[in-house]
C-alpha cells in the first residue's frame, strides 16, 4: 500500500498517525510533509524508526521549493512527479492522509 | 481577459492594462504602454523602468512609491530620489504608471 502525507510533522499529528498505523509498504512525503525528511528535525528519530518497515520517498520539487534538498535523511528515496505516478501505479491501493 | 496588440502579437493584460505574464515584456511593449499613458519615453524614464525591473528581479515585488523614491535616491542620487522628479516623469504616479510600463504588477498596497 502507498501512504501519501502532505502535512508538516511538527504542526499536525497526521504523519505520526500514519506511521503508527501503517504496517508496511511505501510512504510518500509531499508538500509540507517533506519537512519530515530533513536531518536535524525533532521528528527525525520517529521517521528513521519507521524506515525499517516502510520504504520512504520524498517528492523532490517540494523539498527544493523549501530550500532543504541538501538535508535529506539518508536512505530516503527522492522522486519526481513521474516517480509519484509510478508509485501509485505500482501499489494496489493508496491512502492520502488528510 | 483584456489584451494589447504590439507588432501583430497579442499580449494578455488585466482590466487596468498591466501585463499578466511578466515574461512577455520587451522594450516595444514598454513603448506601446507608455504611449497609451501619454508618456514620451526618454533616457530618464528608462532609467526608472530599468531600476524597477532590477528591483523586482532581486526582491520579487514592485516597491511602494515611498520605497522606490528612497531606493532611487540611494542608487541614482538625491536629485532623482524625490517625488517631484519622479512625478514629473510619471504624472499619474511613479508606482502605478512606471510599473505598468515596466511590465510589473501594481505595487503591493497601491489601490
Amino acid at each position: 500500500m502507498l501512504h501519501i502525507v502532505n502535512k508538516s510533522p511538527l504542526t499536525s499529528t497526521t504523519l505520526e498517525s500514519c506511521l503508527n498505523t501503517a504496517a508496511g509498504g511505501d510512504l510518500l512525503l509531499i508538500e509540507d510533509a517533506v519537512y519530515a525528511a530533513t536531518t536535524g528535525s525533532a521528528f527525525e528519530g520517529k521517521l528513521k524508526a519507521a524506515m525499517g518497515r516502510l520504504k520512504v520517498h520524498v517528492l523532490m520539487p517540494d523539498l527544493e521549493a523549501r530550500g532543504l534538498a541538501d538535508r535529506m535523511i539518508e536512505g530516503i528515496t527522492p522522486v519526481d512527479y513521474a516517480g509519484f505516478v509510478g508509485l501509485t501505479v505500482a501499489n494496489k491501493n493508496c491512502q492520502s492522509w488528510l | 481577459m483584456a489584451s494589447i496588440e504590439v507588432d501583430g502579437k497579442n499580449y494578455e493584460t488585466d482590466e487596468e492594462g498591466y501585463l499578466v505574464n511578466l515574461s512577455d515584456w520587451n522594450k516595444e511593449i514598454a513603448d506601446y504602454i507608455a504611449k497609451t499613458e501619454s508618456i514620451e519615453m526618454s533616457d530618464q524614464h528608462w532609467e526608472v523602468i530599468n531600476f524597477l525591473r532590477e528591483y523586482f528581479d532581486e526582491y520579487q515585488i514592485a516597491p511602494a512609491v515611498r520605497v522606490l523614491t528612497k531606493a532611487i535616491g540611494k542608487k541614482l542620487g538625491a536629485e532623482k530620489g524625490n517625488s517631484e522628479y519622479l512625478y514629473g516623469l510619471f504624472p499619474y504616479g511613479p508606482g502605478k504608471q512606471a510599473c505598468k510600463i515596466a511590465g510589473l504588477p501594481k505595487p503591493t498596497g497601491c489601490v
Binding site: 528535525s41 530550500g67 | 526582491y59
Partner: protein
C-alpha cells in the same frame, strides 16, 4: 499625527503548503506604508519561511522568500525567531535569508504582551 501603535505579525505556518505565509507578507508590506511600529515573529513552522535556498521552479509557484530581504527598505527591521522552534527544525541563524533576533519562548511571550495589535497567520 496620530499615535504610532505597535503591530506584531505572528507567522506560524510553513511557506507554499498553505497561503498564510504569503498573505502575511503582503499585509506587512501594506501596513508598513502607515508608519506604524511593525515587528514580525516567526514561530513553529513559520521559521521555515526564512530558510535560504528556496527553489520553487519545480512546483511552479512564486518564490517569495527574496521579498523578506526588501523589508528593510520598508523600515520593517524587527524580525524575531523563536529559538525553540528553530532548533526543533535543525535550523540555525545562518540558515536564514535575513538577519533576525533569536528569542526564547518566554522572551517572545513578553514581546507579544507589549503589542497594541497582534495579527496571527
Amino acid at each position: 499625527m496620530s499615535d504610532v501603535k505597535k503591530f506584531m505579525f505572528v507567522n506560524r505556518k510553513a511557506p507554499y503548503g498553505t497561503i498564510y505565509a504569503l498573505e502575511s507578507l503582503e499585509v506587512v508590506l501594506i501596513t508598513a506604508a502607515f508608519d506604524q511600529d511593525v515587528s514580525l515573529a516567526f514561530m513553529d513552522d513559520g521559521v521555515y519561511q526564512l530558510k535560504k535556498g528556496q527553489q520553487t521552479k519545480g512546483i511552479e509557484t512564486k518564490n517569495f522568500s527574496p521579498t523578506y530581504r526588501a523589508l528593510e527598505d520598508y523600515d520593517v527591521e524587527k524580525l524575531y525567531v523563536e529559538k525553540e522552534a528553530m532548533e526543533a527544525r535543525g535550523l540555525s541563524e545562518e540558515d536564514f535569508i535575513v538577519d533576525v533576533t533569536v528569542l526564547s519562548r518566554a522572551e517572545m511571550g513578553a514581546m507579544m504582551d507589549e503589542q497594541d495589535v497582534v495579527l496571527s497567520f
